[in-house]
Symmetry: C2
């Protein structure tokens, strides 16, 4: 059984502006250590599949940068997405490439811009998921909620169907949209829900079958693209097909409608690093609760994130503040309002 | 009667870091308009005395920059102060230069880094002060207090001795050190006190006489320096004498002890621009109470000073914050604590 990993690297990381920009988005940056988030994602999956089985889907704008960051991934494994159209077209495109290599292989779908603290736990969960996928299930990794977040979709657990390699595999009763706070609290309390992490495992023939059933228009374009893979007209065909693609997520377009969807619940220190406060929560703080990168001088400064570069940042009398200083711009944001960075970027 | 103006330009403007630095202090910067504070000071006095009667005292480090900013002031009028030793040696040095040009002239002592909103009122007060000085008084301009500041010395008014050109000239009962808050409130309420602005007017022979009486060691050095003015050994003599100078203010060293000190109380929109909030209070704010220089994008941002350059500064959810962004450093400071910028600079 061949296993291919597809890293979706098309995200924009809007709420991590000004470090994350359209030209140099979140996954190309170092937030936590010496590796960029993309490099973290690659290094995490490499031991399971090998670099020649790692495919990367990303826009034209950043595919070159990703290639520089991981030069040992074969150039042919970088799949250009002509425009971001949601996860359904992205995954469909990757699927036809994987199917072209081995139509019976298992395909692991991963994200390029998340953090996973427990890499061994991640590997164990993936091994379980790959086995379940090989048996024909569509597998999603469900993250154990650590708070009643309203920022994620939730997966309701159904009956266990199996234990594979010591981990539970449960039927999915239902995918739910992002809930309100009260609903989220109830879900977390019940213990019967996972966060939808956006990580999936399936046989590539199975997911293509589901595309055919639930998104036939998209599927038709995938067939056209698949026929052109390796030909000189590939890019032309891809771009023409992409113009016909519906904008859709894999969750809504496929997973909520597909049969035989299962979840492997995991507790692996996952974070989507969506906001500056989530970045802050993963970095060690000093005795005043400040997290500092770069040169900082503080008086009466507490519980703040100082994320700078070479320039000195001095703070006096601040609390719960996020300060991000790049060569191009400066963000100063109340920690409780860091979701609104998205609004800032819209205004720009 | 000849009148010379001496602009003391040796200040460091510590609390306006990071814009104001030792290398490029406060008076060399634009805070309020197109002119630097030094240029404001020069343009303010020019109509009364003419540029060839404007002398500037400053350290070696910045005298060149000041010359660039006011190239029409004769080069010989820039007097280098080998090191900042307080206002007494500075004024003494200027006095021997003025005496060398005309020992019976009137000398107006001004600061290079303050703002005066009512320039006509300033001119009227100076005309009164010059006449009083010509009659032998040591004159200080006393600024009408607008708040019970603990940051200035206060001058207690005595009996009026005269009205000159329509303005009152009062004996000075007493110079007081910076008071505590309660004392300051009482002083302001009484109406019998002015702030000590650091602007003085006197005949040059009178101030030298006072130096001789109250600071004889300093006076002895002034005589040595005065004898060397115009000679090839001047700089050598100056530096040697400066090594013997006591560190002292004119207030403590002379004014508090001198006889025949008078005050001309003025209400001329004076500000020492000592802190960022005092800078802010002189600039027009927008409908959210923000004062912005440079490129700013704000969400839920109020009563804040955004003092930037070319780089975009974005703020979310901030109140009463001072943000100063220069090429070298960034300051983020609670407005109520902007006096502590001095402590920051000490730490650097």
């Amino acid at each position: 059984m061949e296993v291919y990993a597809v890293i979706m690297a098309g995200g924009t990381g809007t709420r991590l502006w000004p470090l994350s920009t359209r030209e140099k988005p979140k996954q190309t940056h170092r937030f936590l250590g010496d590796d960029t988030l993309f490099q973290e994602a690659v290094h995490r999956i490499k031991p399971l599949v090998g670099l020649d089985h790692v495919l990367v889907v990303a826009g034209n704008r950043i595919v070159e940068e990703l290639g520089r960051q991981e030069p040992r991934i074969p150039e042919a494994n970088f799949i250009v997405e002509p425009a971001g159209m949601g996860t359904a077209p992205c995954i469909g495109l990757a699927a036809v490439h994987v199917a072209g290599r081995d139509p019976e292989s298992v395909m692991v779908v991963l994200t390029a811009d998340h953090h996973i603290g427990d890499v061994e736990g991640f590997h164990a969960a993936l091994r379980t998921a790959v086995d379940a996928a090989n048996n024909g299930h569509l597998v999603t990794l469900g993250v154990k909620p650590t708070e009643p977040s309203t920022g994620y979709g939730y997966i309701e657990h159904g009956d266990p169907i199996d234990r594979v390699r010591g981990l539970g595999v449960l039927r999915v009763s239902r995918f739910t949209e992002k809930p309100d706070r009260a609903t989220a609290s109830e879900m977390v309390r019940s213990g019967r829900y996972s966060w939808n992490s956006g990580m999936f495992v399936w046989r590539v023939d199975r997911i293509l079958e589901e595309f055919r059933s639930h998104m036939p228009e998209l599927y038709d374009q995938l067939v056209v693209i698949g026929d052109a893979v390796g030909s000189s007209s590939y890019m032309e065909v891809l771009e023409a097909s992409w113009g016909q693609m519906p904008r859709e997520t894999i969750d809504y377009g496929v997973m909520e409608k597909a049969s035989d969807v299962v979840v492997v619940p995991v507790d692996i220190g996952w974070s989507d690093l969506g906001t500056w406060s989530s970045v802050m929560s993963l970095l060690p703080g000093d005795s005043d609760g400040n997290v500092v990168r770069g040169r900082h001088l503080g008086i009466d400064t507490r519980n703040s994130l100082i994320f700078g570069g070479d320039r000195l940042i001095a703070t006096v009398g601040v609390r719960d503040l996020i300060v991000v200083d790049t060569g191009e711009a400066l963000l100063i944001c109340d920690k409780a309002q860091d979701q609104r960075v998205r609004d800032l970027v819209k205004m720009l």
